[in-house]
């Protein structure tokens, strides 16, 4: 008994010593702490490539768009007065804009940002947009004939898809940004009518964009709206879906650029800037385009896979990304919360 007891005590002492030992060292010239809301499978290869090329170790803290946690955004805001992160690599510009408004971000205009369209970045340099996803329609080929394929987001409320359309909860992730964009483009009344008709048409509310992909791939929904990376993963898995870039002859497709944010007062600001420079390079845009993330470059002239739809081949929805963040906060507390409640 006493020997087992001693072994147990020694093991626990080791565990506590390991627990107190910090695996990163704060202000250290040799590392950078990156928080990211981009999915780990897509962000980690880029971080590892940066580490290999520069010798600067990357401590990556990934998040997920699945709405099952309070998320990294809250962590960044809570850590504002003494941040641990140097960079926030956001999967969308709205959360980057929220950090700017909360005083968590600091301006940084990277020399590598040349060639990136100004419309997808903060004019004051608090965040810089690069490689993007798009909000696309997907439909199940077994449940929708090619001639009946949806062409517009408005088809979600079309009677021919009654009870067969789905949308992720608009309180979370990129769907929330899409909802705010629809309010900006369609106007207050038009957007409310769209969401109300979605419910009246028997639309289903999914828990996330990944859930939308699954519901459509399994045929439980005929059509849905999701992000290009979700849709691409389903295609790579051989699911019977087809992707449509919606509203090519109308309001356009919502483009969701990544956003690189330098954190104010981060422990390794120089390495943070180096990491942002690395993210904004044409080579990183190319890497993200050829990965499973299938993110199209914002720059012209970056090599992409043949089948990829690029920015100049689509009609991007014209929205002011900086304005969307403020609109979203207001909508989340009002109409969208009410919509989500009614949808259950």
């Amino acid at each position: 008994m006493s020997r087992v007891f001693l072994i147990a005590i020694a093991a626990l002492a080791l565990v506590l010593a390991l627990a107190v030992w910090r695996p990163w060292s704060g202000r250290d010239a040799g590392e950078v702490v990156v928080y990211t809301s981009v999915d780990d499978v897509f962000a980690r290869p880029i971080a590892e490539a940066f580490q290999k090329e520069t010798g600067v170790a990357v401590r990556l803290v990934p998040d997920t768009e699945e709405a099952k946690s309070t998320g990294l955004l809250n962590r960044l805001i809570a850590e504002k007065n003494r941040p641990q992160a140097d960079v926030f690599w956001s999967g969308d510009p709205v959360r980057a804009e929220i950090l700017k408004k909360q005083g968590v971000a600091t301006p940084y205009k990277s020399p590598q940002a040349d060639g990136l369209p100004a419309a997808f970045s903060d004019p004051q340099g608090y965040w810089t947009g690069f490689s993007a996803r798009a909000r696309v329609l997907i439909y199940n080929k077994d449940r929708v004939a090619a001639g009946d394929a949806p062409r517009s987001v408005m088809d979600l409320v079309n009677p021919r898809f009654q009870g067969r359309a789905c949308l992720a909860n608009p309180l979370f992730g990129t769907t929330s940004m899409h909802a705010a964009a629809l309010f900006a483009v369609l106007g207050e009344e038009g957007a409310k009518r769209f969401f109300n008709e979605f419910l009246a048409n028997g639309g289903q509310l999914a828990s996330s964009n990944g859930d939308v992909r699954r519901l459509v791939a399994e045929g439980r929904c005929a059509i849905g709206v999701t992000d290009t990376d979700d849709a691409n993963v389903a295609l790579m898995e051989g699911k019977p879906i087809e992707i449509v870039y919606p509203d090519a002859d109308g309001m356009g497709t919502l483009v969701i650029p990544n956003a690189a944010v330098l954190i104010a007062g981060g422990p390794n600001p120089e390495n943070g800037e180096r990491f942002i420079d690395y993210l904004l390079r044409p080579a990183t845009e190319e890497a993200l385009a050829t990965s499973a993330a299938a993110q199209f470059p914002l720059r012209a002239g970056v090599a992409v896979p043949e089948e990829m739809i690029t920015l100049d081949q689509m009609r991007p929805m014209e929205v002011d990304y900086t304005a969307l963040a403020g609109r979203l906060e207001e909508l989340n507390r009002g109409f969208l919360k009410d919509f989500a409640d009614r949808a259950r």
Binding site: M1, F5, L12, V15, L16, L18, A19, V20, W21, R22, P23, W24, G26, V33, Y35, D39, D40, V41, F42, R59, L60, V61, T64, E65, E66, A67, K68, S69, T70, G71, L73, N74, R75, A78, E79, K80, N81, R82, N169, L171, F172, Q204, L205, A206, S207, N209, G210, R220, V233, M236, E237, A292, A293, E329, N332, R333, K337, A340, D341, R344
Partner: protein, 529 residues
């Protein structure tokens, strides 16, 4: 007392007599208050904000309906788990059948998995068949079932061999089963209540099956509205409602959580090897465990199976092992650290509570209250504390230890229930005998109390450790950069990773955890099980 324990030496009277463990004293109240204060400390910043801020009303119609939905799901899931778990636990206690030990390892598997992962498994298998309240009820029932079965098993193991033999003689197998079930029913109910409380704080399955629950409403307040004050007020409201609902349970459980064993009879129950009952018990337990627990696993890993069958593609398994190598060490540290802190506090609470039924009622009610608070409340509070603290406090507040501490403080009520039961099964005559012989308190604690509590402490350590690594929300918010846990890694890749990769991760995780459990079990010794 254990027959092979070393004899207690007769020594000169020490400064403190073991009788303090039986006598009333102000120290008990101080220790109890100190432990609960420590446990609530990380959540205090947000609770203070909740009490001082004026904002949106908490009890809107939607939130009231969500609370009601969450309560109904929690109670029904706990009831189903109770109905299935008690017979499973009784079968494991009374009968020795082939594969019994392996089944007990399998039984622990759902506790390793975050409930949302179990929900995904069920959802993949059932399609839309479980949408609505049925889905979360099935998920939480299969998650609570092991808690109930193990509590029944532990409760049944506390019976004396003579009592079981007498029941068998008087009433046959039925008599033994009824006696064991009755004896273990109160701990089983406590376990079911514990599971219900934990399920009410978990938003995952409700979201997967599109059901609005109190936890999902609180999550929306945190994550979508960014209104921490509202989220904290909602959390306190839910905890208070559950406390009111669980009050009768605490009242019932407290005095009966354990009856002190008589010092004259501590011989353990021998498991029966009679062919008929043993075969029936084995088959029933196996069917129960396989159907309720392995079904979601089949749903989860089926994409990997398809991938292997179609192309013999092993790359997903290889990547899953790489992920395990990256995160395995930290995962073990989190599990062990949280388990250790939970056991330390839980058993200290149990010793301080002693045999007083009033203190026990208070302790159980307070434990249930703490368990009902959403984990994010303490995690965000801990971030705020760490941010406000000077840099020299980082080794405690911004390290792996901070995550261990927060998880340990959240889960110490689980260990406390084990401790309360184990402590109550000690005989007061041991203390009196030691005092008569002048044994000092330190020696008594070392030679009598610690060995007596050790098996329960080991079980509590394991359970708290398992629950700790399944707590994704706290890990996401508090893990130091570059030190993610394996379940967190699964969580962060599952949204966009290929299904076969997620399946490979889940399979590797469960397989490794099962092997570790098995190895640990062997180390501790099968006889104790």
């Amino acid at each position: 007392m254990n027959a092979d324990a070393p004899p207690i030496r007769s020594l000169q009277s020490g400064p403190v007599s073991p009788l303090v463990l039986e006598a009333p004293g102000a120290w008990r109240g101080l220790v109890i208050a100190g432990i609960f204060l420590l446990a609530i400390t990380p959540a205090l910043p947000l609770l203070a904000e909740a009490l001082t801020s004026s904002g949106q009303a908490v009890m809107s119609g939607v939130f009231a309906a969500a609370v009601q939905g969450g309560l109904v799901i929690g109670v029904l899931a706990a009831s189903v788990a109770l109905v299935l778990g008690v017979p499973t636990g009784v079968a494991l206690t009374l009968y020795d059948f082939p594969g019994r030990r392996a089944l007990m390892v399998v039984l622990a598997l759902p506790l390793l998995l975050p409930p949302f992962l179990i929900a995904l498994g069920w959802s993949m298998l059932a399609g839309g068949g479980l949408d609505g309240p049925a889905g979360p009820i099935v998920v939480f029932a299969s998650w609570i079932l092991p808690l109930v079965a193990f509590a029944t098993y532990a409760g049944g193991a506390g019976l004396s061999a003579t009592a079981v033999e007498a029941a068998r003689l008087a009433g046959g197998e039925r008599g033994a089963i009824v006696l064991t079930a009755r004896h273990a029913f109160v701990p089983a109910m406590a376990a079911a209540g514990l599971g219900a409380a934990l399920s009410i704080a978990d938003p995952g399955p409700g979201q997967v099956f599109r059901v609005q629950t109190a936890a999902s409403e609180i999550l929306a307040s945190f994550a979508a509205l960014g209104d921490f004050g509202l989220a904290a007020r909602q959390s306190v409201t839910v905890a208070a409602i559950i406390l009111a609902a669980a009050g009768p349970l605490a009242f019932l459980v407290a005095p009966r959580i354990a009856e002190a064993l008589m010092a004259r009879e501590t011989r353990r129950v021998r498991r029966a090897r009679m062919r008929g009952p043993r075969a029936a018990a084995g088959a029933a337990a196996a069917v129960m465990i396989m159907a309720a627990l392995l079904t979601p696993m089949i749903g989860l890993v089926s994409p990997l199976a398809y991938s292997l069958v179609e192309g013999g593609d092993l790359r997903w398994l290889s990547r899953a092992f790489s992920e395990l190598l990256r995160t395995g060490g930290d995962t073990l540290v989190y599990a062990a650290g949280a388990g250790f802190i939970a056991v330390l506090l839980g058993f200290a609470l149990a010793v301080a509570v002693g045999r007083d039924a009033g203190r026990r009622r208070f302790a159980i009610a307070a434990c249930l209250f703490l368990l009902c608070l959403p984990p994010a409340l303490a995690a965000l509070g801990m971030i705020q504390l760490a941010t406000a603290a000077p840099a020299w406090a980082d080794p405690v507040l911004r390290s792996r230890f901070a995550l261990c501490l927060t998880l340990g403080l959240r889960l110490f009520p689980v260990a406390a229930l084990f401790g309360l039961r184990a402590q109550a099964t000690s005989s007061p005559s041991w203390t009196h005998a030691a005092a008569v012989h002048g044994v000092p308190l330190a020696l008594f604690l070392k030679r009598v109390t610690a060995p007596h509590l050790a098996p329960a402490a080991a079980a509590a350590f394991l359970l708290a450790g398992l629950l700790a690594i399944a707590d994704i929300g706290t890990a996401l918010l508090l893990h130091p950069p570059g030190a993610a846990s394996f379940p967190l890694a699964i969580f962060t890749v599952m949204a966009n990773a290929p299904e076969a990769f997620v399946a490979a991760l889940a399979l590797v995780y469960v397989a490794i955890a099962a092997m570790l459990l098995f190895a640990l079990w062997r180390l501790v010794g099968w006889k104790r099980a």
